[in-house]
């Protein structure tokens, strides 16, 4: 039995729903706050996820920039040595999707040479009539970047846990591979 600890960074444009997703995940869907302002919100969400078919778990420390994504020097500090990445865009905003490559690059630069398991999350699927980014388009880009792809609605509590469970599985697998490598050293 092992309990891993993973620093998870939330990346993406302002207002795509990063805080909403993190808070949904934290409260198991109990809270959807309609009126976030850029300055409110918790900086750190801590939550443990069990890995199916094992006794292992991953404790996430989710660093939410809480509006500070506007000030990039603050992000550099908040994002030091990430373990996993949750990259979020808004399916009704093409620009938020286009900016994902910039966010991904920035996050990977912080991982300084180590791999950075990640997921791409298209949020706000409840606004179906305003959709501007097709699933297939996001899927294709995510695949090219080695990211697992999800669509969610924090508002409708749709699928909000799946990206984090996927990150937990990826991180757990990385741990097992690394331990195997340690074992092979001597």
């Amino acid at each position: 039995m092992v309990k891993l600890a993973a620093k998870c960074i939330l990346a993406g444009d302002s207002t795509v729903g990063k805080t909403a997703l993190a808070q949904m995940f934290r409260t198991d869907g109990a809270h959807f706050q309609k009126n976030y302002t850029l300055t409110t919100g918790v900086d750190l969400v801590v939550k443990t996820v069990a890995i199916p078919d094992t006794e292992d778990s991953v404790e996430f420390f989710i660093f939410d920039s809480a509006g500070k994504e506007l000030f990039s020097e603050m992000l550099d500090k908040l994002w030091v040595s990430p373990n996993v990445l949750c990259l979020v865009y808004d399916v009704t905003s093409e620009q938020s999707f286009n900016n994902c490559s910039k966010w991904l690059e920035k996050a990977r630069a912080q991982a300084s040479g180590t791999s950075l398991p990640g997921v791409l999350v298209g949020n706000k699927t409840d606004l179906a009539g305003r959709r501007a980014v097709e699933s297939a388009q996001a899927q294709a880009w995510a695949q090219g970047q080695g990211l697992e792809c999800f669509e969610t609605s924090a508002k409708e509590m749709e699928n909000y846990e799946a990206p984090f469970h996927c990150l937990a599985r990826q991180f757990h697998q990385l741990y097992q591979e690394t331990v195997e490598a340690f074992q092979a050293l001597v």
């Binding site: 039995m1 092992v2 600890a5 404790e59 373990n83 040479g113 180590t114 331990v179 340690f182 050293l185």
Partner: protein
């Protein structure tokens, strides 16, 4: 006085704290005298472990075998309880692809009852410590 490896289970040393633990790779592996067994960190850094000698010792040389450890700080205490740690040694290790890091440190002022090893940063998401040995002498038992 006889010099020997003070950091061995079999000589009475004990790991009394470790911030990470995988049941399959427990911290006792650090002092079992076998570099094949190891302790792994399981997440974010810093990570640390504390070795208790259960007596007063004087360390002359430390050898740490590890993998992916980047910055290592070692503190020591001369108290009977694991308190009052003072900064002792800090090293930046180099990455040795595919083989264990083998860090030898000639120690000055090596009086100790406890050693605290803090891994401040690593070259990857996880790091391992395969063995710590401390060559030196046992000075006196706790009264």
């Amino acid at each position: 006085m006889r010099k020997f490896d003070l950091c061995l289970n079999s000589e009475g040393a004990e790991v009394i704290l470790a911030t990470s633990s995988d049941e399959k790779h427990p911290p006792e592996n650090i002092i079992d005298g076998n570099p094949e067994t190891f302790w792994t960190t399981t997440g974010m850094f810093p990570q640390e472990f504390i070795i208790c000698f259960h007596r007063h010792v004087r360390i002359e040389k430390l050898v740490i075998q590890s993998y992916f450890v980047r910055t290592l700080r070692i503190e020591k205490s001369t108290s009977k309880e694991p308190t009052d740690f003072e900064q002792w040694i800090e090293r930046d290790l180099t990455h040795t692809e595919g083989q264990l890091q083998n860090e030898e440190i000639i120690a000055r002022d090596g009086q100790a009852t406890y050693l605290r090893f803090i891994i401040l940063s690593a070259f990857d998401h996880f790091a391992s410590v395969h063995s710590v040995s401390a060559e030196g002498i046992a000075v006196s038992n706790f009264s």
